[in-house]
Amino acid sequence: MAHIHPLPKLLGSTVALKAAMAVSGLLLVGFLVGHMVGNLQVFGLFGGREAMNAYGAFLHSKPILLWVARIGLLVMIAIHIGSAMALIQRNQAARPIGYHMKKPIASTYASRTMRWSGPIITAYILYHLAHFTVAGVGIPGYPLMDAQSRVDIYQHVVNSFQSPLVSLIYIVAMSLLSMHLWHGLWSLFQSLGLSNARWNVLKRPMATGLTVFIIAGFMAVPLGVLFGIVK
């Protein structure tokens, strides 16, 4: 077939940018699932302090893998935010004069606020990194050490979430993430062109189920600390 359109133009189309958002979004969701499952180790049932601190020490003993994962995540976030900003700009330009009256019929609160939930989640991620990963913002004596002189991640978590304010910030961020994921997990099938008459009915329940699974897992940690299950 003749090359009618140059490849950069094809890869910069609205359809291609949405596909890039979907792929990057999906990989970020994959990371979230892993992160959430890892967090659950703070519960005694899954090993508690010992499991959590050993897990952290294990990750830090593999610096190359760790940095490959970190850079991979940064690239995904850059692709996701970059295409989001390009598309938001085009979508706003597509309707320079709005309506006096416009009734939403099928769209949801989640779908209409993607461009706000996304940046708020990003701001939260920056705070989260400053909090646990880089600087221990809000954790006196960071980094704490356990008896085997490993970083005492478990104690960081407990000390942090005993503050209702820190827990509240976390819970609010997870609520926004839940909306972003709920719409995103259904929208990405559309963006990637995955449609099948028999399976389409499962998309919404799947998005709801996976969102509940991820968010419940994340929220369990601050709630566990606040209610004294993790201490």
Binding site: M1, A2, H3, I4, H5, L7, K9, L10, L11, S13, T14, V15, A16, L17, K18, A19, L87, R90, N91, Q92, A93, A94, R95, P96, I97, G98, Y99, H100, M101, K102, K103, P104, I105, A106, S107, T108, S111, R112, M114, H183, W186, S187, F189, Q190, S191, L192, G193, L194, S195, A197, N200
Partner: protein
């Protein structure tokens, strides 16, 4: 039959350059049997009798098949009844809903500039069709009816997509001003039939490129288009367009 009194707020704009404004017009004694366009006809007769300029609105078939008549009525494309064009909308629908005040606006999109009042220029759709919404065949004798077999499911889906009348309600109701439902309908209609296969890969690239060049926005799966489409075109035509696009680019553009 029953007559109702309505207050209209109609967008009036002299020409594409005019900034435009809403005019309040009292529409008294409108038959509930009238269609929405017939109501506008009645109002226009009265305006003419008063020596005023009638409201410009687009219409042709008045039977829901040409796609000319779309306007925004109280924030809903083609008004409050689903699966219905403005010409097929009857005034009783407002009566039963207790609606006495109507805000009537033209489609709003950069790609659909207002010509006058409620009339917009939808030729951007024509240019998207010209970019690839066709099949190239040798003309001549009509082929034998069953010479090229088509699976029943495919025929049904293609036919459903082919019912798109190009009215533009999907663009008008989309918060992003996206034409994805319209383009997806064409991609689906032609891409499911044997006659559409030869140009299938180039079609999607050409039509999507044209759609972007005409400054339509991107789909973010709000679903407003599907909800307001008078022909019931479904969102999965957009997935099909995206899938065809992905495969065509992967095959080398």
């Amino acid at each position: 039959m029953k007559n109702i009194d309505l207050t209209l707020h109609v967008w009036r704009q002299e020409n594409p350059k005019d900034t435009g404004r809403f005019d309040q017009i009292e529409a008294k004694g409108i038959s509930t049997h009238a269609s929405f366009l017939e109501m506008l006809d009645v109002v226009n007769d009265r305006l003419l009798a008063q020596g005023k300029r009638p409201i410009a609105f687009d219409h042709d078939c008045r039977e829901g098949i040409c796609g000319s008549c779309g306007v925004m009525i109280n924030g809903e494309a083609h008004g409050p009844v689903r699966g219905t064009t403005a010409c097929q909308l009857h005034m009783r629908e407002f009566d039963t809903r207790g609606i006495k005040e109507l805000w009537i606006e033209p489609w709003r999109a950069k790609a659909f500039p207002v010509i006058q009042d409620l009339v917009v220029d939808r030729s951007a759709f024509d240019r998207i069709i010209q970019a690839g919404g066709y099949i190239s065949v040798k003309t001549g004798q009509a082929p034998d009816a069953n010479a090229v077999p088509v699976r029943k499911d495919d025929a049904d889906q293609a036919f459903q997509a082919a019912t798109c009348i190009g009215c533009g309600a999907c663009v008008a109701s989309c918060p992003n001003g996206s034409a994805a439902l319209f383009v997806g309908a064409k991609i689906t209609h032609l891409g499911l039939l044997p006659q559409g296969q030869t140009e299938r890969a180039s079609r999607v690239l050409n039509m999507v490129t044209k759609m972007d060049d005409e400054s339509f926005g991107a789909c973010t799966s709000h679903g407003e288009c599907e909800a307001t489409c008078p022909k019931g075109i479904k969102l999965d035509v957009i997935a099909r367009m995206n899938g065809d696009y992905r495969r065509s680019v992967a095959a080398g553009g």
